[in-house]
């Protein structure tokens, strides 16, 4: 294959991955709502309802606060851009992502953080009390999840001696016994806590509430309308599906394409969709049986995640 042909293929792979994360993210949100409704004895909206919502939002008039600066419209765009970038370069469908060694774990963490910080700044920008409250809460939680995430990464990187995501996924495929090691299991616990916090799911934040006392993420995006709100919704859905896809690929990498070519990619797509859907259904089932934690109890849960991460990396260091 010529050099230009390889470039075209890798760009195509990146493009497919972005599409999968975008459409899959919306379907994942719809699926989780559907599972939730079923368990609560309701019929619930169809699974593609988030797509219909998104189409409606894009046609609506865009209203922006009078005193908002350029940060306010930039927030949703940056949020979506960060996830698009990560979805393109990460090993989701195949372990040969477009940029070799581009998807380092630390890069992923900090690019995700850029999205959260810009969204918090955009929430502060119009000067409304809800935006400020939501931003302060979101940043408190981010400050607690970030160390847990970084320490949990160590637990995966120490045995593999790399923090490159493609290598981590490949090592999981070659040495399946590493996946069941105690360090990995502890790290999985820490990752689950972090992902629930980062994507604003139930024990930490209720994605479907608009009650001023409890909301975190919804308070931040209260001022957005029309296509801005559509971008925020899309960004959040993509973020959730990206995090879940990364989690399943790190801890259950079976099915991901190891060879180039369309058939392997299709198998990778089916496997990824199945695993992500199962995980999403598990999260939704868990959410039905959980109540939101009081805001003052959230640090306890996140400190628990941090301790799990510390244990995980210590065990990884000792066991080796």
């Amino acid at each position: 294959m010529s050099a230009s042909g390889a470039v075209v293929t890798s760009v195509a792979v990146g493009f497919v991955q972005v599409l999968v994360i975008g459409i899959g993210g919306l379907l994942l949100v719809g699926l989780m709502r559907k599972v939730r409704s079923h368990l609560e004895g309701r019929v619930g909206p169809p699974i593609h309802q988030p797509m219909l919502d998104l189409r409606k939002l894009f046609t609506k008039e865009r209203v922006r606060p009078d005193h908002a600066s350029w940060i306010f419209p930039a927030g949703p765009v940056v949020l979506v851009a960060t996830v698009v970038l990560l979805a393109a370069i990460s090993p989701l469908l195949t372990i040969h992502p477009p940029i070799k060694h581009g998807a380092d774990f630390f890069v992923v963490v900090f690019v995700l953080l850029i999205g959260s910080v810009v969204l918090a700044l955009a929430a502060l920008d119009p000067g409304t009390p809800f935006g400020g409250m939501g931003a302060s809460r979101a940043m408190t939680i981010a400050a607690l999840t970030e160390p847990a995430l970084l320490v949990a990464i160590l637990a995966l990187s120490i045995p593999a001696r790399t923090s490159d995501l493609s290598s981590l996924v490949r090592i999981g495929l070659i040495h399946p016994q590493l996946i069941a090691s105690p360090g990995r299991i502890l790290a999985l616990g820490a990752f689950v806590v972090v992902i629930l916090a980062e994507s604003g799911r139930l024990p930490i934040d209720n994605p479907s509430t608009h009650l001023e006392l409890t909301m975190i993420h919804e308070a931040m995006v209260l001022e957005y309308a029309g296509s801005d709100l559509a971008l925020v919704t899309l960004g959040e859905a993509m973020r959730l599906s990206f995090l879940v896809a990364l989690l399943v690929n790190l801890f259950a990498p079976w099915g991901v394409a190891t060879r180039p070519g369309a058939p392997a990619l299709v198998i990778g797509l089916v496997a990824l969709a199945g695993k992500v859907a199962l995980t999403g259904m598990a999260i939704a089932t868990f959410e039905v049986f959980t109540a939101k934690l009081r805001l003052f109890r959230v640090p306890e849960l996140l400190a628990g995640g941090f301790v799990l991460a510390v244990f995980a990396s210590l065990t990884a260091l000792v066991v080796r």
């Binding site: 306890e300 301790v307 799990l308 066991v319």
Partner: protein, 219 residues
């Protein structure tokens, strides 16, 4: 039992012991704390069982069964009765709040791994490398005893210390002789019975289990 399966299951059981120690600091409900202690007792039994099967040591397997019954069932049942007689049955206000004590548990674990490094270099087997986990459990137990106020949580702290010592004993010496292990476990069982009587007396005299409210001894 083959090499990787042996080391994997030993690591897993020892890891469960450590995580249970942290969970006792994390939970506030006394019922949940006692349940966690029961799981830890079973994991400790599993450690002894894995070692016993690996070394084809019938005595150690018998010890494992005894530890699992005593620490996984008998002691938790006794404690659960005390908890049931407590009207609040929650650790309402520990001296150090939960996030800080969890971070403290992480720091103690780091300390344990740092200080037992010479021991692990002396004993470079799978079991030897896991000794820091036992030491960390022991330290977390001491920590739980100092920061918790309720009688039951302090007993649980004491039992964590005991479990940590037992784990170190299993890992370092591949199991103490059966008779010593029986003696130690029965000793602990007796301590729990005495503490249970004491706690019940406290409950009926003062209507509470908060040890900080006891300033002096009365007859």
């Amino acid at each position: 039992m083959s090499g990787p399966v042996f080391s994997g299951s030993l690591e897993l059981a020892a890891g469960v012991v450590l995580v249970c120690a942290a969970v006792t600091l994390w939970r506030r409900s006394l019922n949940a704390i006692v349940k966690t202690l029961a799981i830890q007792g079973l994991a400790l039994g599993a450690v002894a069982l894995v070692l016993g099967i690996h070394q084809h040591d019938g005595g150690l397997i018998a010890v494992a069964c005894f530890v699992a019954v005593a620490k996984g069932a008998a002691i938790p049942t006794l404690l659960r009765r005390v908890v049931r007689s407590d009207p609040t049955s929650r650790e309402a206000a520990p001296l150090i709040n939960v996030p800080a004590s969890l971070v403290g548990a992480g720091a103690l674990t780091l300390f344990a791994f740092a200080t037992t490094a010479p021991v692990t270099t002396l004993l470079p087997t799978t079991a030897g490398r896991l000794i820091p986990i036992g030491f960390a459990t022991l330290l977390i137990g001491f920590f739980a005893m100092t920061v918790r106020r309720k009688a039951v949580s302090q007993i649980v702290g004491l039992l964590l210390v005991d479990n940590g010592i037992a784990l170190i004993a299993f890992l370092a010496t591949s199991g103490v002789p059966l008779i010593i292990e029986l003696g130690v476990s029965l000793d602990v069982l007796l301590v729990v019975v005495v503490l249970r009587v004491l706690a019940t007396q406290m409950g009926s005299r003062f209507g509470g289990f908060d040890l900080d409210q006891l300033r002096e001894l009365h007859d």
